[in-house]
């Protein structure tokens, strides 16, 4: 047997130790008495080679142009809340024009609410492994492109972002991680190893509470 298909059902009224459950939105396992836990089944994307974007002020895909030309998209379900995590490095070596580097999300899914954030940093140099001082924190509650780093007028620039968040989907559709530069520069490349994953937490319209929270 290489697969096991569970039918969607209402969760057990009392979590049973050792159980694996599926309610049609998410999987759950209960390893300890009353402590039902969410099993993250992540839709995952990781770049294996640098991906060069375009020198443009239009929003563009972080990982590729994608099927619709506006970026690699993941398809999400209606009335569902997802958690996501993305570690991304961008680097460029041309165009000495000051600009804002922005992150946002496109796609056809409608969003009830979103909150994401984390640490960001940048240097006026192409990416090089190592530490960079003076990180900034970043938070956003909109899918609209938001500045994460104000880049100086230097040809070489790298931007590092470590972001986590959750999004409540109204009507299902595509969800596209994108970046925008306020001036046509570079282009930037998204570096190999950058990744994003996203997994369902539960039904939209309320708080997500899994386990013994009370």
């Amino acid at each position: 047997m290489s697969s096991l298909v569970l039918a969607a059902d209402t969760l057990l009224s009392t979590p049973t130790v050792g159980s694996l459950e599926f309610d049609g939105k998410s999987f759950y396992s209960t390893p300890l008495t009353s402590q039902r836990g969410l099993v993250p089944g992540a839709q995952y994307y990781r770049l294996n080679a640098d991906y060069a974007g375009a020198s443009s002020t239009s929003a563009q895909g972080i990982f590729s142009v994608g099927t619709g030309g506006t970026g690699l998209a993941v398809t999400l379900s209606g009335s569902t809340i997802y958690e996501f995590d993305m570690y991304l490095i961008f680097s460029k070596s041309a165009t000495a024009t000051a600009h804002n580097f922005q992150i946002g999300f496109g796609g056809t899914a409608t969003i009830n609410n979103i909150l994401y954030g984390g640490a960001v940093n940048g240097t006026a140099a192409s990416f090089a492994a190592g530490a960079v001082a003076a990180a900034q924190s970043f938070d956003s509650n909109t899918a609209t492109a938001t500045t994460v780093y104000a880049a100086a007028a230097t040809a070489t620039m790298s931007v590092r972002t470590y972001l986590r968040g959750s999004v409540s989907i109204g009507t299902g559709g595509t969800f596209i991680p994108q970046y925008t530069t306020s001036a046509a520069v570079g282009p930037y490349s998204t570096l190999a190893g950058s990744f994003m994953y996203i997994y369902p937490l539960g039904t939209s319209g309320g708080a997500i509470s899994v386990g013994s929270w009370s």
């Binding site: 290489s2 096991l4 694996l20 992540a42 570690y87 640490a119 001082a133 190999a192 990744f195």
Partner: protein
């Protein structure tokens, strides 16, 4: 029944409610067509402080290495706190990965901070970021001369293994500080497979 053992099989069309195993990664499909990978983590957490040595060497951060498979890409995460309370010899503190596994590529990064005191709980200002696409040492701190020092590191990343072998999280001191660092209780490292190492990892509906 306390266990289910799956044979490896090629993945086919994703079916809602399915749990699958392809020989590298377990998957679950919670929403129609949205197959997701399950983090099945090899996990190590220190239950007591691990004392290093007061030497200018590369040291095993957790005292262990983990064995990885050939032609497989993994996700990694660790949170670690290193601290010392003695020694004022100027030194650099860096992190790296050792072991016998050969890698096609790696990227990891995150945030870190430090103070010139031994570890205490609480808030510290002035965090920094780091990132790396190599396994070799990257210095987080240079020219440290304070007797007390603690360094907190929050790291995530991915790596593609060519030939399987061990992977060892490490730190390097450029000089013997006069007092050893310890990796503190509760520090942890986890790693789980996310697919083969031959191309982009694409699980789910990414298109």
């Amino acid at each position: 029944m306390s266990q289910l053992i799956f044979t490896a099989d090629p993945l086919t069309t994703a079916t809602a409610g399915a749990y699958e195993y392809d020989g590298k990664v377990p998957y679950m499909t919670a929403q129609a067509s949205q197959r997701g990978l399950l983090p099945s983590a090899q996990y190590f957490r220190l239950n007591t402080d691990l004392a290093g040595t007061n030497t200018a060497t590369t040291q095993n951060a957790f005292g262990v290495g983990v064995t990885l498979s050939t032609s497989t890409t993994y996700a990694i995460e660790y949170t670690a706190v290193f601290t010392k309370s003695a020694g004022t010899t100027s030194h650099n503190f860096g992190i790296s990965f050792g072991g016998t596994a050969t890698l096609n590529n790696i990227y990891y990064g995150g945030s870190w901070n430090n103070t010139n005191t031994a570890f205490t709980s609480g808030v510290n200002t002035g965090a920094n970021t780091f990132a790396s696409n190599v396994t070799t040492n990257i210095n987080l701190i240079t020219g440290s001369t304070a007797a007390g020092r603690f360094i907190e590191i929050y790291l995530k990343g991915t790596l593609a293994v060519n030939l399987g072998g061990t992977l060892i999280p490490q730190y390097t001191l450029s000089a013997a500080p006069g007092g050893a660092y310890s990796t503190l209780t509760g520090s942890y490292f986890l790693i789980y497979p996310i697919g083969s190492s031959s191309g982009n990892i694409n699980v789910g509906t990414w298109a």
